[in-house]
Amino acid sequence: MSVTADDVRRIARLARIAEPEDRLDALTGELNGILNWIEQLNEVDVEGVEAMTTPVKFPLPQRVDNVTDGDCRERVLANAPKSDEGFFVVPKSVE
């Protein structure tokens, strides 16, 4: 499988990365180089093989559902690009 410049534009949109038009061709070439190289996985017989999602062999532990942290608004906001009156300030997202 290979991707076109249109596909790359769509992938960039999905990834929320503004890729300038003049970079699309170069990116298409780079991504196709990698995707073609990855194609060799088709040689592996994976019939009936389970997909591995993690090397962890024990069940996911569950903790008691208690509040264990909080009351630290200033610390939470300390790295905000914009904040005001104890809130994050974000661009308008609802018309």
Binding site: M1, V3, D7, V8, I11, A12, R13, L14, A15, R16, I17, A18, E19, L27, E30, L31, G33, I34, L35, W37, I38, Q40, L41, N42, E43, V44, V46, V49, E50, A51, M52, T53, T54, P55, V56, K57, F58, L60, P61, R63, C72, R75, V76, A78, N79, A80, P81, K82, F88, V90, P91, K92, S93
Partner: protein, 490 residues
């Protein structure tokens, strides 16, 4: 530079406990040496002298009372992927260039609990994506080892700054993270010891995520015993990381120096790759001979899916990265670039904040997870990952450890591979399998090539059996008697 900095971690902590040297004196020496080396090596991203000296003073107080932890008073360098409270933590990325965490990663807080003194943050490939430290937003790190004609070499990556700092005797140990080889390959390139323990042995909490099912925090050190001490001082169960191992931490340090007699060592034929320099093959053969002489039995084994590990990794890791890095949206922390609407703010922020390699990997990850391609790419790669784990499971039915080269070459010149992503990715051909399987692996310096550059050997063992890894690593170190050091030019 003070000769104190040339000591091993083991030696210096002995001197600290005997009060032959103070933690404050040591911290001042290390700060001065690291800062003096910075213009030449470019290995560091942040210092905080007040913090360093305050921590050293606290160590001196404890040492004066005959108290103190495993590494009390020893200055430690920290890869810029670990959150250190109040200190710039950027993952060598513009998107986090002003980020100062208000919390401490579990690994660093465990190190401080064991008496470590924060020395500085170290440069890395942006978000740990790279094998040469050239994708760092602050530019490449120079390897203390230089080429035959004095050319600048890569220290490897992604943990290049930490590897360079240990190799140049600027600290007594450093942290790294290893997602596909980012500790072991730089260790091999700098003549240092690098360890990636069993997945989950060291907590990932507070470590900036790249690919969560593959990320392994671990140490760089000057000797195998030092690396065991460092790993001991970093490990343990962490309720804040749901993948953290609940098992007790074995005594890694005690394993160093124990006999390897009777151990079965596997030598996988698939690690003999095309174009591998003869000297690497020679170092590997030498390693086999050393272990034979120490009483090990050498067994030829096969890990048939080895060649598929890297392509599988370049689906799984970007997929997880595209998800993990979705958090950098310019809203709650990090860079924000304005735009005409919310989507434009996201897109402009991520275009300005991420470098090319990170953008490329996010896009590969986005593509392989997107509708219509998930089964063909992502699901297949996860199944191949199972095949790789099965290879190891089968091999470990007959052998106790596996010996391979750590990397397919010695350190290469900066700029020589940066235009070819796949050539760069191939650096991790020997290391990436252990990340996919989650098994422990370490790189130990084994000799030098014709240009005098260090070469490393890798030891891989069963999950949870770091002790055998340290035993074999120590035996290799003993036999190799590797004591080459880069000539100081920085």
């Amino acid at each position: 530079m003070s000769d104190l900095l040339k000591l091993s971690l083991d030696e210096v902590t002995t001197k600290l406990k005997a009060k032959e040297v103070s933690a404050t004196e040591l911290a001042k020496d290390a700060l001065a040496a690291a800062q003096a080396a910075q213009p030449a090596l470019n290995a560091f991203t942040a210092f905080d002298e007040d913090k360093t000296l305050a921590m050293a003073a606290a160590s001196d107080e404890k040492l004066a009372k005959g108290e103190g932890g495993l590494i009390e008073g020893a200055p430690i360098a920290i890869k810029d992927l670990f959150a250190v409270e109040g200190v710039s933590t950027t993952a060598s990325s513009n998107i986090l260039k002003d980020f100062k965490p208000t919390y401490e990663s579990t690994v660093t807080s465990t190190l401080w609990g064991n008496g470590g003194v924060f020395l500085c943050k170290t440069s890395m490939d942006e978000f740990a994506m790279g094998s040469s430290n050239e994708t760092a937003n602050t530019g490449p790190v120079n390897n203390p080892w230089t080429g035959a004609n004095g050319e600048m070499l890569t220290p490897g990556g992604s943990s290049g700054g930490s590897a360079a700092a240990v190799a140049a005797d600027l600290c007594f140990g450093a942290t790294g993270t290893d997602t596909g080889g980012s500790i072991r390959q730089p260790a091999a390139f700098t003549g240092t010891v690098g360890v990636k323990a069993t997945y989950g042995r060291t907590s990932r909490w507070g470590t900036i995520a790249f690919a969560s099912s593959l990320d392994h925090p671990g140490p760089f050190a000057k000797t195998v015993k030092d690396s065991a001490i460092m790993l001991q001082a970093m490990s343990g169960h962490d309720p804040k990381d749901s993948t953290s191992l609940p098992n007790d931490v074995p005594n890694f340090v005690a394993a160093c120096g124990q006999s390897v007699k009777g151990l079965k060592i596997g030598v996988p034929k698939e690690y003999r790759v095309d174009g591998m320099p003869e000297e690497i093959e020679k170092a590997w053969q030498q390693g086999i001979e050393w272990l034979k002489a120490a009483g090990c039995e050498i067994v030829d084994i096969t890990l048939p899916h080895t060649k598929y590990a890297l392509p599988a990794y370049y689906i799984v890791a970007p997929a997880e990265a595209s998800s993990n890095l979705a958090r950098y949206d310019g809203m709650r922390y990090g860079l924000r670039e304005e735009g005409e609407d919310l989507t434009a703010v996201y897109e402009n922020t991520r275009a300005a904040g991420f470098g090319h390699e990170v953008q490329r990997r996010i896009m590969i990850g986005t593509y392989v997870l997107s509708a219509g391609y998930y089964d063909a790419y992502y699901l297949r790669a996860q199944k191949v990952r199972t095949r790789i784990l099965e290879d190891f499971d089968k091999a470990f039915q007959t052998v106790d450890a596996i010996l391979t080269p750590s990397a397919p070459s010695a350190a290469f010149a900066l700029g020589s591979k940066s235009d070819d992503p796949i050539a760069m990715y191939l650096n991790d051909v020997f290391t990436v399998t252990a990340n996919l399987a989650g098994v422990p692996a370490m790189s130990v310096p084994a000799g030098t090539d014709k240009d005098g550059l260090p070469l490393g050997l890798q030891i891989i063992t069963r999950a949870l059996d770091e002790e055998t890894m340290f035993k074999v690593g120590h035996a290799i170190e003993d036999a190799a008697g590797f004591n080459a050091k880069p000539e100081k030019w920085w």
